[in-house]
Symmetry: C2
Subunit: 636 residues, 2 copies
């Protein structure tokens, strides 16, 4: 172990309360699997009873997907300098197909390790990497294709179900909160219950990936595929004027608190290697990177000087740190580059433009394309998943769905098949900027070209005219493409195109994307997707303000907004809403309607025709209603 | 004229600079019509030249739709206590079918007029109302059906075209900024150019409305219909603890500054009548109201005591003030009310719940339904348009598209036909809360039941689980339903369900809805819809930062965000973007690709096959590229 630098040590113990405090109204729960070390973390939102006025019944707790890891667990002790517990370590060891290495395999990694100047920023615990034994393939896809259900697969099956079984088999049978509209899924195959075997099968056929590098045993398994809940990715990373290491880790914790399922570390600064180590050791979610960024730094920013050897060493360096997926822009072929020349905004992907420049400088196909099978060999030795980059994605509405973009997508389809030949897990990145009427074509083409490999899109932004609000322009497109079948949505923050997101921007971006992902799940008809909507709406109707806040995606913001208008605690129990005031509230009136109709329905039977019901006994009931005072406001 | 109360006088002259200052980078322009008093206000965004590095050409100004009225015109003198100029007064007089009344027709209006206690809040200029001469029908629909093209119709034709002709017939022919993707319009009939005759025809067949009460001559004509640009509505209005009158007017000016095409005044406070007068006299956009709110106040909030006489007097009171459209919940029939009883959130529309309560209390159909033809008689005497309210709209995802909602929609279809028999302009209000997969059914059913009368929807919100972010949950649904054919989108602010929107919430809500409306216009393929996207993206590519800000929906926010990362003025001219820093910028690399390809295209011809092009001369070009330094950063 290195000497822990005091300044960093202090920072590491000072993760701010704002990122670690428990989520209001929730508690951490664990659903156990088939073995004692398989405990799936979830968040349970506790509800209060319905007020007597509205029926007085109990409301069940609502379990929701929890990406926040141990940071929101009051029982967990957080110390960034030791990292999170290695949840998966035993599972990986048990498989017996990997070995601990005696030293890092990458030259760059070894050089960093002995550079004393880096002691001040280095993660204090030296960790030896693990790699597949000679000839072994350690990907989840490989296991899946051999019929093996790994603990990781069981974990995600339990996780995806969100304990719906508690509502399905309650004391009174199936709970009303489970009722939902039929979905429209555009050919998805979403089962009523996610089983470990279903997870295995989806991974085996390439329709889902479970990103889990053997060197990132701290991660809580999660799955990305069109037949699972729609996921979101948040980007973090320092740049130009570098943010500190502790600050980057805090960004990670902040992002997963709000619901990022994956985080990509896009750092380009001086301590990119060391920052990454801190991030991975402390991350309960898969971490993705774009290795070409770091490779470019190794050649001082001169793209044409990039070589396969440098890139290969970078892949190994990062794979041994535990990066779970690599964005690799191997589809930028020489012949596509001129197709971008007459675009309005050319090539906007950083990785794409680096590769385009390299191709032009060398007048040949890129080393990513030419060495693609060797890359597969590295990926399968650590179980790093491909995120095949869309280096030619459109950067504006005008450039959407053009020949360059779709040409690259076809190549990504070919590369997917090569990756699958090696049992390497693969997802495909997608655009970008696309007007609504052209979004569906992107999804359909991706499904066709890439054999249903998971699609992972950035937005898309549905218009270019709102800089400062691109979390919204893109949430529209993200919700739609999620509905059509995209498996993971890469968030966009309000600062897109303008600057680096601060903490508030990250929160706003994640919220917009949690909304898009959930709207997509509802529309696809995922089992139980409507439970939280139903519970929140019922709470809203019954003026259970605190429950409404707690069931929302951002309880703190909801409460804060409510308090601006009605700051007193007593109002949290008020049987009226702030918009209408105490004497004029449609919800109160509805309650009268309900009581009125309930009386009548009792007489006519629950399935009586509405017209008959209306005709029957209306006059008598009206008299009764008026006699009772016809008054709506009742002190709560 | 009343004595102007000094406090109010002071407020009226103190509209804050933030709501009246010119929009950065823009100037007010006027497009003239067939007569000298027909001058259509627009906003012209001025662009700078493309930097020499990128070609050095001129960039044309971009004309955009301007809802802000005289408030952003530096030549206009604003004094709220005198109101805006009566732009349409002569047009109305010329038609010779109206008469100035000697006194207000409504008993309530007359009583307010002589109540000395109201002097302190009364609009200082007494205005006599105008009404159709006996037997006359003064609606734009009536004129349209008789083949008359009014100045109002010509105004909106010019306004909708946004001076596209300047780009269509430039010195070099059709400007490249006009290029756009084919739209998908779901059966809309959008012409290449909006002519006054087209406007007349659309109004005549009921497919569009031009809300313009003869007592609101200050309004700038605008049109709502599926074959025109998608419009948005913002709600203002005091409540419970009342905001001041000057504050309400300032809210109006703030809302139209950001792009509200219509404003609904939903005030329920003590000075509702007087506040409305101030708002209308100072509003260049149509003002809508929900008259039942005020009628309810007249019976101290006891819905069951509402009568046709009270309601009728309220309609006349408001029509003589100049309200341009009334939300009237005449479709809440007795037989639909029990259908809401088993809903999760019952009846959430205030108007709907008032009428439901009335129906239950009286066990009969509402006076709105029973007196509908008499209401039509009032509407056509002032040209007030119907906004047929969806009193039974769903208040949560669970209640979407249910029998109550669709039953009411069918009745609204019947009422539309009655209104059209009277040549009364009519639009139809729609939901609400609807998951994505059920949105299209709403639009299709509305088109079918209501004969393509304009649809005017609130969102819809696509999930219930994000209180605090419902401008986003609903912008997703709004963009989609706008694409499908909704003519006007009623905004939702982040405070929806939680409290009263403040100024920032109004801005955020309007921005989300301007995005949704524009995304819909792009997707439908409105001619010229992509011009602003194209111009902004070109500016972005060429690092014309100021142009990018100015072309955006919110130039101030964009600049502020950019300045957070790169505050120096010099950076506004920097040829790199803040995300990547000066040494690593994909846009710069693209520029190299473009120059490279341009050289080759010159040799191979612009239509040469990409493969051929790539094969030809690649080696030579690569050498040349490297010889030139292969360096990307050039001092700007």
């Amino acid at each position: 172990m290195n000497a822990m630098p005091p300044a960093l040590q202090q920072q590491a113990q000072q993760l701010s309360d704002s990122v670690t405090r428990p989520v209001p109204g929730s508690r951490k729960v664990f659903a156990e699997g088939s073995r004692p070390d398989l405990r799936v973390a979830m968040r349970e939102i506790v509800q209060t009873r319905t007020p007597t006025l509205f029926g007085g019944e109990d409301n069940p707790p609502v379990t929701v997907y929890d990406t926040s890891g141990p940071y929101t667990d009051p029982d967990a002790r957080i110390d960034l300098s030791t990292g999170l517990p290695a949840l998966r370590a035993r599972w990986i060891e048990e498989r017996g197909d990997t070995a601990l290495l005696a030293a890092l395999s990458s030259g760059f990694g070894r050089a960093r390790e002995v550079d004393a100047k880096l002691d001040a920023v280095r993660f204090p615990t030296r960790r030896l990497p693990r790699r597949a034994r000679d000839g072994a393939n350690v990907t989840q896809m490989h296991y899946a294709r051999r019929g093996i259900v790994t603990p990781e697969m069981e974990y995600v099956a339990i996780r995806e179900n969100q304990r719906l079984e508690l509502l399905e088999a309650g004391p009174d049978g199936r709970h009303p909160l489970l009722s939902q509209h039929p979905g429209q899924s555009f050919g998805a195959s979403i089962p009523a219950r996610i089983t470990p075997e279903f997870v295995r099968d989806e991974i085996a056929r390439g329709r889902a990936i479970l990103p889990c590098n053997i060197n990132h045993p701290e991660s809580e398994p999660m799955i990305i595929g069109r037949n699972f809940l729609t996921k979101i990715n948040a980007n973090i990373g320092n740049s130009a004027v570098s943010s500190g290491i502790a600050e980057e880790v805090e960004k990670l914790v902040w992002a997963i608190r709000w619901g990022a399922d994956n985080v990509m570390d896009l750092s380009t600064g001086r301590h990119i290697h060391e920052t990454r180590e801190w991030i991975i050791r402390n991350s309960p979610v898969p971490i993705g990177t774009v290795p070409i960024y770091q490779a470019l730094e190794k050649v001082d920013g001169r793209a044409e000087e990039l070589t396969w050897e440098i890139f290969r060493d970078t892949l190994i360096e990062q794979a041994e740190q535990g990066v779970d997926y690599f964005t690799i822009h191997a589809g930028v072929l020489l012949r596509y580059v001129p197709l971008t020349a007459r675009r309005v905004t050319g090539i906007v992907s950083r990785g794409g433009s680096i590769m385009a420049k390299w191709c032009l400088a060398h007048h040949r196909e890129s080393f990513l394309y030419e060495h693609f099978e060797e890359i597969c060999d590295i990926m399968k030795a650590y179980d790093v998943a491909f995120s095949l980059g869309d280096g030619l994605r459109p950067g504006c509405i005008a450039d959407a769905n053009d020949a360059a973009q779709f040409g690259e997508l076809e190549t990504l389809g070919e590369l997917t098949k090569i990756a699958w030949k090696h049992d390497v897990q693969t997802m495909i990145e997608g655009p970008g900027h696309v007007p609504m009427q052209l979004i569906r074509e992107n999804m359909d083409k991706q499904l066709a070209e890439c054999g249903e490999a998971p699609f992972y899109t950035l937005g898309p932004l549905t218009t270019d005219i709102a800089p400062g609000y691109d979390h919204i322009t893109s949430a529209i497109g993200a919700a739609m493409i999620g509905w059509y079948g995209t498996a993971m949505l890469c968030y966009v923050t309000p600062k897109e195109h303008l600057g680096l997101p601060n903490r508030q921007d990250v929160r706003d971006g994640i919220m917009a994307y949690r909304i898009a992902a959930h709207a997509a799940d509802l529309a696809k008809g995922h089992p139980g997707a409507q439970v939280r909507d139903n519970a929140l709406s019922k709470a809203r109707f019954e003026f259970r303000w605190e429950d409404q806040f707690h069931l929302g995606l951002d309880p703190e913001k909801a409460k804060e907004f409510h308090d601006e208008t009605m700051p007193k605690d007593a109002h949290k129990l008020a049987h009226f809403c702030s918009m209408c005031g105490p004497h004029f509230c449609s919800m109160k009136i509805t309650q009268d309607v309900r009581e009125f109709a309930a009386g009548r329905a009792g007489a006519a039977g629950p399935d009586a025709d509405a017209g008959d019901v209306a005709a029957a006994g209306m006059a008598a009931k009206a008299a009764e209603f008026r006699a009772a005072g016809a008054e709506l406001y009742r002190p709560g």
